[in-house]
Symmetry: C2
């Protein structure tokens, strides 16, 4: 029989150790976007591998090659850590994916505490990477450790796949997954990702993420930047053209104006509508958190649907124009507008690329400008959507019920976790996203935190989930 309460008690009585472990990990500035921090990132991978080895896992550090820098040099990518606990062919095998690299953080950005010094305030643990993704990775490790410490057999074989380049696009990971499809992944039944958060205070299971198509619209005019006093009025300015075409992407009310985009979106089903209706969502809390007075929609279903299962266009910025403080009287010669369109079923990035390119060229042609327009799609990540009727989700509901005594929200994630789609495409395995992050953890923002509650109860959730998965019928 499953001795949940003993395991849970073990977790409760070891929580200070867990917090210290998180403190040690947060102290390592494993910022994958900053090349100067690469030694810290390598150390982070070493520390992760060491921990798994000490627990008796069979651990490997997989070399995934080098990263090319814009200046032409190369630098070693952080190794991917794989580990295995148990290889009983009678049991299911799960593979837990996580990452131990983090987003950049500096005190000056507006942190109230040192970002790399884990600081507890009102039972919240503040630090860069606390929620994204160090505490969830540690919670998974501690879940395995708890079974070991109490001499309980692991109910399923557990594999780990921990990378260090997630925050900059999982450089090298796709190739590694493909290369190990018939080795490391051959006996994996299910993949578990805990790299996201709940929607409210209620625990959640995540069954979809949006993809993303990121575009550069480059307009090139004069050979070099010109003085706006001397030349203004005689040249057709690239910046005016760019503003003009960017303004045709989306209406003030959020309607995407590119033909074909909205038509490709799978219609909202009655069942989805009901699911959304049942989700706990507090408008005021959400508005408060981001500091706005009004949202795009006032109705819960509309708002959630546009967050998760409708495409959206965001204009991120312009490269090549004047962007510093102060005044400069320049006519920029070449400007690149950057925008992205979040992808949902049944959109197809290849199709979106064509729709956007054709549309922008057609609106640009109407301007009769002599400048040159070039449209490029630089990222084309597909959306991911799981079948919530899959037994992995039944196991998730049961685990949440056991630990929190509530039914979980079934939610989607507006952001993109492109590795989910790769896992699905390459390994053919089913995936569940089992978040333990809080809704207000501020991943990627200043003052990121993980609450002590979510960290500790999350560890229990993972313990319970391993048991629930062991109850699933083999080979479905």
């Amino acid at each position: 029989a499953f001795q949940y309460s003993e395991l849970a008690q073990y977790v409760d009585s070891h929580q200070e150790e867990y917090v210290e472990a998180l403190r040690d990990w947060v102290a390592i500035e494993s910022d994958s976007s900053n090349i100067l921090k690469r030694p810290d990132l390598h150390r982070m991978m070493d520390v992760t591998a060491e921990k798994l080895k000490r627990m008796g896992g069979s651990v490997e550090m997989v070399d995934i090659g080098e990263q090319e820098l814009p200046e032409g040099q190369t630098v070693a990518l952080p190794k991917v850590v794989t580990a295995q606990f148990g290889n009983d062919t009678q049991k299911h095998t799960v593979c837990v994916y996580g990452h131990v690299d983090v987003q950049p953080a500096k005190l000056e950005d507006g942190w109230r505490t040192e970002p790399y010094n884990l600081t507890e305030i009102d039972a919240n643990l503040y630090g860069r990477g606390a929620s994204d993704n160090k505490a969830p990775v540690l919670a998974w490790i501690h879940a395995v450790e708890a079974y070991q410490a109490l001499n309980m057999e692991l109910p399923v074989n557990v594999k780990f796949l921990i990378e260090g380049m997630e925050e900059t696009g999982s450089n090298g990971l796709d190739a590694m997954i493909l290369a190990q499809r018939d080795t490391f992944f051959s006996d994996v039944d299910f993949i578990i990702i805990s790299d996201c958060g709940w929607l409210s205070k209620r625990p959640a299971l995540t069954y979809g993420t949006r993809g993303n198509c990121y575009f550069f619209a480059e307009i090139e005019g004069p050979r070099q930047d010109l003085h706006s006093g001397v030349y203004g009025g005689t040249v057709i300015e690239p910046m005016t053209d760019l503003i003009g075409i960017l303004d045709t992407l989306i209406s003030p009310s959020g309607k995407i104006l590119i033909p074909g985009i909205r038509e490709a979106v799978a219609p909202l089903t009655d069942e989805e509508w009901r699911t959304y209706q049942d989700i706990e969502f507090d408008f005021d809390l959400y508005k408060n958190k981001i500091g706005v007075s009004h949202l795009m929609y006032t109705n819960k279903v509309d708002l959630l649907a546009h967050r998760w299962r409708h495409p959206t266009v965001t204009i991120h910025g312009i490269e090549g124009a004047f962007s510093d403080p102060g005044t400069k009287t320049v006519i920029p010669a070449k400007v690149i507008g950057k925008f992205s369109i979040r992808q949902v079923p049944d959109m197809d990035p290849a199709q979106v690329k064509k729709q956007v390119t054709d549309y922008l060229h057609s609106v640009f042609a109407k301007r009769k400008s002599p400048n040159k327009l070039k449209v490029t799609m630089v990222i084309g990540a597909k959306p991911w959507l799981a079948d919530t009727k899959h037994q992995l989700y039944d196991a998730g509901k049961a685990a949440v019920k056991r630990v929190f005594d509530v039914d979980p929200d079934l939610i989607r994630e507006g952001g993109t976790i492109p590795i989910a789609q790769t896992f699905q495409d390459v390994t053919g395995k089913s995936i569940i996203m089992l978040p333990i992050g809080g809704f207000d953890d501020g991943m990627h923002s200043q003052n990121e935190k993980m609450s002590r509650y979510n960290y500790i109860e999350g560890t229990k959730l993972f313990i319970a989930y391993l048991h629930e998965v062991s109850q699933l019928k083999k080979s479905v």
Copy 2:
């Protein structure tokens, strides 16, 4: 009698010295926008003062106070150099204005030669500040020197006013002019500015410059930048709003859409039309120089009129959005669009400020956005226009005729020389702009140059001009 040919011969035979003097000046990196170069800028003012002292001028270095830096510190402004040669009350007194600070320049920006090492190629002298404004200032000094060297009496009293902050907005100069209105400027009859260029290979007299109103349109939304995956679709994005309102400023064909702006422009007179018709202007050369295939107008009068005597809107860039290379999935929380409107008679900056602010608020209101719009006018410089029938221009025509044996073009300048308007307003004196820069000198651009021809013949032009001014009736 005016012994022009002896003076011209003297100039010809000393041209190597003049080039060496320019080489010494260009070697000083007097970049007024870079605070780290401030010691070089102070040295530049010292060197200028020294030169004028050695020639026997009565020279002063006027302290104009301190500059406030954005971080709250202060740093000394470069002193303004004033000098006087002659004080015969029977003669006219001219005041020559110039500046010895320069725009930034780095080899990596695309210079073919070291920017601070004057390099002669095909009789062109390449170097930062060569044309703007070091060679013209030196040419004026050499003009006085030539009279002295040949023991000829100066035909007019000559005063110099040389500053070191022109490229960043003549910080401190307005107050200095106001303070010395009844002292240094009390006996000045005419002000001469040689801080611009010809329109073609034909010498020119400049009788107008455009003013400039520079605007910040700030749109503020969420409290901090947001992840576009997580929040895209639920918030009304400030960047979309900004693109929307910037797109209402100007049509693809260059028509300004802000009500009241075009209506305020003084109509083109028949006389102006004829003047423009007579101006030498080569479309292909102009297009070639800036590297574009088409211009906004195909007709000479239209093109020149829109360069000089019509307002124009330029969108310079956006602060606060993503402007680096690469991809970032951010929803910027606060963005500032920067644009400017060149000013011409009879526009009034105070009126323009109101027109732009009202208009942007009205188009923004139509969007029904919850974000906050703030419109600020940060520069409001009036246009300057001289009466070409003033005898100063007759003197200019006569001098050009004598040196180049052609009639000058009467031109305007699209850019802004705000100090011209200040001179006019504060001193009430008449001003002429007497350029010697070439049409293709690349002021403010990479590979700035001054041709040896323009430098040397320009010195002769200044010599001849001093004589022609002496022939004008006193006190008109």
